[in-house]
Amino acid sequence: MTTDVQDTGKAAPSVNPPDEEPPGASRSERLSTLAQQHGALVTLVVAMVAASLSFDTFLTGDNLENMAVSSAFLAVVALGMTFVIITGGIDLSVGSLFALGGVLAAWGSRYGTAVALLLPLAVCGLIGLVNGVLIARSRLAPFIVTLAAMLGARGLMLAVTDEGSQTYLVDKDTFFATLGQGRLLGIGVPVWITVALFVLGAVVLRRTRFGQYVYAVGGNEDAAALMGAPVARTKIAVYTLSGLCAGLAGALNAAWLVSGVTILGSGMELEAISAVVIGGTLLTGGSGFISGSLVGVLLLKVIQNVINQIGSLDSAYQQVVSGAFLAVVVIAQTWLGRRRRVL
């Protein structure tokens, strides 16, 4: 474990980016690292091949398009969640912020696209900022702060919509609706936006100073502080980012549905956390990567889609399978992680 100290260029001592194995790594060690990081991708490929062999309707353009667009919104939420989880935190408020963002976007769309996008981003970003300040400066537990924000944001959403009875509609002819409904090269605009955000997120996380701080804070907060990393500011930034992502996802979703649906988003925080964990990001912080979360989201959606295709199965099986799958993944990860430490 002390073999790679010459690697002083890294901001985070506890981080081994996936492609840079310590030179002394044994074969089985490398294998378990690989399984931990790319197990989800392999499972996704296997699941997709199996599904396309079993169901004629799986590999059709319509079905894939449907899956891609419905994954897009969860994926954007999971993107922000990945940053939070890498710092060792958690954000339970994203589901409520998603709903709030959608409602605000639909309400704001009558004043033009700029308002429809900026209003949810501003409000959700602000709530994320408050989360971050309470967590980083007042040192409250992320779990409980974001739990309170979840209740508060849902309350705010209900207050804006006359206790959930008012559904604001988006005019179909506006540019804002195009962001959700439009297509570019045969693929829905939300999918393009999601892909762009993931590329951006990956670059920020892997190639910028901020990204290295995120890993450092999650790896060991005290060590990061001693190295001079701005721990509090990094934490505030990730929670703000998560709020922004959730708000944007909500706004895009509203544009896609051309209305601000108030009942959306409950349980979304759990789906996003599941996706991030399935994608190979450890909840203990300090380790993880963006592309894994995308794979995690797709895997969850493929499972849902397959269960929908088996018409005889009730949709409740989706939850059973998703829950069991999450349990298997965390067991495997813990086991692989322990193996690596022992070796």
Partner: protein
């Protein structure tokens, strides 16, 4: 730095926050009771108190299990799903009589608790993820067993839900009895001491030779069983099984009751009296807002503010 000049002030502030954390919840309950007595018409009636107490009973029972989980530096997100699973099992086994059905429901809760405990104690998964997996799967399983709402027509169940002894509903008696039992277990038994030691510092508890894994499993089994009992009581009160909506957001209410009651999330302390008062406080707060025709959105925002205040007070205590 400024400690010399501000020493007295900080000490005073510290004492105030500590008092607030320890007794704030009781003070809150008293204030709300007084305010309602003055401002809410028909508040001071036996009928109203019965209604309030019956509504708070299931939340309180779930919160008791949650207090144990939080005291061991964990959390149990699966409680709402366990309630749903328990209501499904009751419908399924009601043909064998209400007692067998209730027993089946509690066994279901114990099984979920075992799974939680095994994931946490043996595999070493973080409590929040382990119980999250069971939360998702448990709700799904409940819906697989019973796809939609079903009436529970059983005289035994109906009696449990609406019967009383000397005017005190069974539900309230059961909740009070369970609170006493859990308080006794936490304060006066070896298991209670071990639980607190593990919540304080798991490595230290392990080095001291405490049966960490066994205690953790028992904690989550208790939480599952208590949630299942709450599910049985809620089913009896509603005389219907509704696996879709029964227990949704219950984990939040229970965590709120525990945290507002002064149990720190960092583990090592369990305050059962505070938890009872916390559950009552949330119930009173909701009632107050509803009786004065304020919309439900206000209730949620108020609840969020109360949570943040409670953990803020707890934080100062923890830092000392």
């Amino acid at each position: 730095m400024t400690e010399l000049t501000l020493g007295r002030v900080t000490a005073d502030r510290d004492r105030l926050l500590r008092l607030l954390q320890q007794y704030g919840v009781y003070a809150g309950v008293v204030v709300l009771l007084l305010a309602n007595t003055v401002f809410t018409p028909h508040f001071l009636s036996a009928e109203n108190f019965r209604t309030q107490a019956v509504q708070v009973a299931p939340v309180l029972i779930v919160a008791l299990g949650m207090a144990l989980a939080i005291g061991s530096e964990g959390v149990d997100l699966s409680v709402g799903s366990v309630m749903a699973l328990s209501t499904s099992l009751i419908s399924l086994y009601l043909g064998y009589g209400p007692w067998i059905a209730a027993l089946a429901a509690v066994i279901g809760g114990i099984v979920v608790g075992c799974a939680n405990g095994a994931l946490i104690a043996f595999v070493g998964v973080q409590p929040i993820v382990a119980t999250l997996a069971l939360m998702v799967a448990g709700r799904g399983l409940a819906l697989v067993l019973l796809p939609q709402l079903k009436d529970v027509r059983d005289p035994g169940m109906a009696a449990l839900g609406s019967g009383d002894v000397l005017g005190v509903p069974y539900l309230v008696l059961i909740a009070a009895a369970l609170a006493l039992v859990v308080a006794f277990v936490v304060r006066r038994t070896t298991f209670g001491r071990q639980l607190l030691a593990i919540g304080d510092s798991r490595p230290a508890a392990r080095l001291a030779g405490l049966p960490v894994r066994r205690v953790l499993i028992i904690v989550y089994v208790c939480s599952g069983a208590l949630a299942a009992i709450a599910g049985v009581l809620a089913t009896a009160r509603l005389t219907a099984s509704d696996p879709t909506s029964l227990g949704t957001l219950m984990e939040l209410s229970a965590i709120t009751a525990v945290v507002v009651g002064g149990t720190p999330l960092s583990g090592g302390r369990v305050r059962i009296g505070g938890t009872v008062a916390g559950a009552v406080l949330i119930q009173l707060l909701t009632t107050t807002l509803i009786k004065h025709d304020l919309p439900p959105s206000w209730t949620q925002i108020a609840q969020a503010v109360v949570i943040v205040l409670a953990v803020y007070a707890a934080r100062e205590r923890g830092k000392r």
